[in-house]
């Protein structure tokens, strides 16, 4: 690199670092912006960050190396990533990727010789209702077809800047099919906040409540406490999947002692990474006020002055629109100082973008990432409500939870609790995709049956539904009368449908590959176990599976469940165990060997030699290829 380049890179780094106030806790944002300007993170940029941020190189490289979307090697001017969820697979993403690679004369995973473009796969990008999808320099492109792929190849070859690509490529539809209380909400910005404030029992208590917000101290009575009571009365449970009672979480944070100089934080988890879910994308596209207002209500309850929206990197296209909403809310006096005229009612929200790490959906990993670190889940206890962001009391809630909090502030807890079932109050938005006529968002009161959802979305000949994504449940037809709710099948929102033409073994294998790719690598059982599991599933796929491998899969599952550090490891075997239990014939088809057979296959091992010599004739094979190409 010439001196001029070094200077240019340093200039970029200085600009970005200055905008983030030289704050190393913004490392992930700084790296993202440097990469957006430089196309990768060159060593010269790390040199400069080391100086301007005052952190060791190891720390910067450690963070940059953790996230899939950060590149410490050049990846081209155009970095194309095909979403590789099972729904993308079903819509033919692999053939499209091959087509693009052939068109551009490159190999998947590699950079073209002229350094112009790279093509690879990535985990589900949250466009399952309008796939197959890809990311180009982290901008979502939806509804890919062979024709669109050919056009993209042409645009790349002609070095057309992304800004000049047809706008239609980047169009992301909401696809709202069945709205209920949330998706049909007409809340005007500020309504919920005003309603929350009006929950103050009497004017005499107002001053203590104002102090509460300003000083981050919970007052015993009045506004914030009254609002908290409504949340509790509503029986609201977290929408991220675990279903923890929101009121209890907020109360614990509100009551957590503050050390000198500390404050409370509200964090919205928009790291919607579970394959098959995309409801948060829609909420943030068309209902952002509902979400931000819910965060502000939470801030009012717990006495927080700062909030973060942690937005997954795949939703980069939402950053500017969301920042515009925040700016408008500041102008409307719904964020910033003295919100809706409450003296000392100060709260503001910053958006942090993720960079391709599913694990950051786990709340303590998310907080680590917010602090500019590798997204490794923390040892718990202590929990974030007492020791969260920068070791200070923090609530982390799902996007949909905050939106529901707005509705509760507006309409009251009793109204909300009357919707749904006894232990699952309110509604749940399902992200429906896969084999059905009308994929998109369906909002139901809790208690809806799987069968009802299938009927509404026009699914027929259904073999299975994966509820709540790979870490959730695989439901077979004899269970279609089971219901969505914490009493029966809890869900974070994904609802992926498979008809009878699908190979459920391949579904499970896709999910296992996902977990292997997304394991953070911190603990031994998950880091190594997910790789061993992936290898075993590939072994079955390659026709070398035997009952021995079955037993191995079950043993690994036991180990992952009991020894893993966090939920990723605990659930990584779910798709396999569920499909083994319910779709065993799909496995038996792949369990060709009666006795143990090695995974090693000499003919497959010679593939590299065949590629190098450009041969694929019969004589270049050891035995006849019986089981198709390795994926």
């Amino acid at each position: 690199m010439t001196d001029m380049h070094v200077e240019a890179v340093a200039g970029i780094v200085d600009r970005v670092v200055a905008r983030y106030r030289r704050d190393p806790t913004c490392m992930v944002q700084i790296l993202r912006e440097v990469q957006e300007a430089c196309d990768w993170i060159p060593p010269e940029a790390i040199d400069r960050m080391q100086v301007t941020l005052g952190v060791p190189r190891t720390k910067i490289e450690g963070v940059a190396g953790f996230y899939s979307f950060f590149y410490t090697q050049p990846r081209g001017k155009y970095r194309i990533l095909f979403s590789d969820n099972i729904t993308d697979r079903m819509q033919g993403n692999l053939a499209l990727m091959e087509r693009l690679c052939n068109n551009l004369w490159i190999e998947p995973g590699k950079v073209s010789e002229d350094g112009l473009v790279s093509v690879d796969k990535t985990s589900c990008t949250g466009m399952c209702d309008q796939g197959p999808a890809m990311l180009v320099n982290n901008r979502a492109v939806t509804r890919l077809t062979a024709a669109r792929i050919d056009e993209i190849a042409e645009l790349v070859r002609n070095k057309t800047s992304l800004a000049e690509w047809p706008a239609d490529y980047f169009k992301v539809e909401d696809n709202i099919r069945k709205p209920d209380i949330m998706l049909s909400s007409q809340m005007q910005p500020g309504d919920a906040l005003r309603a929350a404030r009006e929950r103050v029992p009497s004017d005499g208590l107002m001053s203590s409540n104002m102090r509460s917000w300003r000083e981050g101290l919970p007052s015993g009575l009045g506004g914030p406490a009254a609002m908290l009571d409504e949340i509790k009365r509503a029986n609201l449970r977290g929408r991220g999947g675990a279903g923890f009672t929101t009121g209890l979480k907020w109360e614990a944070c509100r009551n957590a002692p503050l050390k000198a100089g500390h404050q409370r934080f509200v964090v919205c988890n928009a790291d919607e990474g579970e394959p098959g879910t995309f409801k948060d994308r829609v909420l943030l596209t068309s209902y952002a006020d509902l979400v931000f207002e819910g965060m502000t209500v939470a801030a009012y309850v717990i006495g927080a002055r700062r909030g973060f929206l942690y937005l997954r990197g795949e939703y980069r296209h939402l950053l500017e629109p969301l920042n515009a909403v925040l700016e408008r809310r500041r102008k409307e006096n719904l964020l910033g100082p003295n919100i809706i005229g409450i003296p000392g009612g100060d709260f503001d929200i910053e958006i942090h973008l993720g960079a391709g790490a599913y694990i950051c959906g786990e709340e303590s990993a998310l907080i680590e990432s917010l602090e500019g670190k590798r997204g490794t889940p923390r040892n718990r206890p202590p929990f974030p409500v007492t020791n969260g962001y920068l070791d200070q009391p923090t609530i982390v809630n799902n996007v949909e939870t905050f939106a529901a909090a707005s509705l509760i502030a507006l309409n009251g807890g009793e109204w909300y609790a009357a919707i749904g079932t006894k232990h699952s109050a309110g509604t749940k938005i399902l992200s429906v995709s896969g084999d059905c006529e009308r994929p998109g968002l369906y909002e139901y009161p809790f208690g809806v049956s799987i069968r009802q959802v299938l009927e509404d979305c026009g699914a027929s000949d259904t073999q299975a539904v994966q509820v709540s994504g790979p870490s959730g449940f695989c439901v077979a037809p004899d269970e279609f009368d089971r219901t969505i709710g914490f009493e029966d099948i809890p869900t974070a929102g994904a609802f992926t449908i498979f008809n009878n033409t699908r190979d459920m073994f391949e579904v499970a294998r896709n999910y296992v590959h996902f977990f292997q790719h997304e394991s953070c690598g911190f603990c031994t059982p998950c880091r190594v176990g997910t790789s061993l599991l992936k290898n075993l599933m590939d072994k079955l796929h390659n026709g070398c599976g035997s009952p021995y491998d079955f037993a191995e899969i079950e043993k690994l599952n036991q180990l992952l469940q009991s020894m893993s550090h966090c939920g990723l490891g605990h659930t990584a075997c779910n798709p396999v165990l569920d499909t083994i239990a319910k779709f065993r014939p799909a496995y038996e088809k792949h369990m060709v060997q009666q006795d143990f057979a090695p995974a090693f296959d000499l003919d497959r091992a010679l593939a590299a030699a065949r590629q190098m010599t450009g041969r694929d004739d019969a004589a270049a094979h050891i035995i006849k290829e019986e089981f198709g190409e390795d994926a």
Partner: protein, 232 residues
């Protein structure tokens, strides 16, 4: 100090704030571990020290002891899982004990013996990892790294140098050193650093000392790892 919990039926006294591991070690009871080191903040990543506390499996190095807690450690079930974790560590890296100069001093090897590991069981990954011989006094053989991060913690928390860190993710997680070249010789690492002393396996090796102590007379040749705990 009247509080106690039971560990495999034995009453173990503990002080407020002590972890199960700390209290057990003080009482002279060995719990297998690799990433735990009494001088550093518990990390909880290797999971070898997993025990069943009140019926729930948890890492004993990070779990605080509580009065009346019932802890199981030396059960066939838990040891079988520990053995599987050890096997995972063996196949993940490139561990060839007979040709490794750390043999006999190696905690991974000693733990494998302790747990009765008779084979690696799983298919080897045979990762392609480099060796860094750039430093005049110390050799880094990344093939044997088990990602315990003890050197990371020692360099950061004791030496104040940040010579080591983990980068990458998942199965691609790896140890890096604090130099643009990636070479140890370009860092301020020195043999006197705490980080030079803490590697439980054979990654950080002092040059020209490899066989100063002959095989057969090494730490774990004389005393199996399970007997190395001394009550204090």
């Amino acid at each position: 100090m009247s509080q106690t919990f039971t560990l495999d039926g034995k009453s173990i006294p503990f002080e407020d704030g002590q972890t199960i591991m700390q209290a057990a070690t003080k009482a002279g009871v060995f719990i297998p571990h690799l990433c735990y080191h009494p001088e550093f903040k518990p990390h909880g990543s290797c999971k070898l020290c997993t025990v069943k506390a009140n019926g729930r499996q948890t890492a004993s190095c990070t779990m605080r002891a509580m009065a009346g807690m019932v802890v199981e450690s030396e059960t066939e079930e838990i040891n079988a899982e520990r053995r599987a974790l050890t096997q995972m560590l063996f196949v993940e890296g490139n561990h060839f004990c007979p040709s490794c100069e750390k043999s006999g001093h190696c905690q991974l090897q000693a733990t494998a013996y302790h747990l009765g590991m008779m084979s690696p069981h799983f298919d080897h990954f045979f990762p392609n990892r480099a060796v860094d011989a750039s430093h005049p006094e110390v050799l880094l053989d990344f093939n044997r790294c088990i990602l315990c991060s003890l050197c990371v913690r020692a360099s950061r928390d004791v030496d104040g140098k940040n010579v080591f860190a983990l980068s990458g993710r998942g199965i691609k997680t790896h140890l890096i050193v604090n130099a643009k070249s990636g070479k140890l010789s370009d860092t301020d690492f020195s043999l006197a650093d705490k980080a030079a002393q803490v590697c439980p396996v054979g990654v950080i090796l002092t040059k020209r000392k490899g066989f100063a102590v002959p095989i057969g007379e090494r730490s774990y040749d004389k005393q199996p790892i399970g007997e190395t705990v001394e009550g204090r």
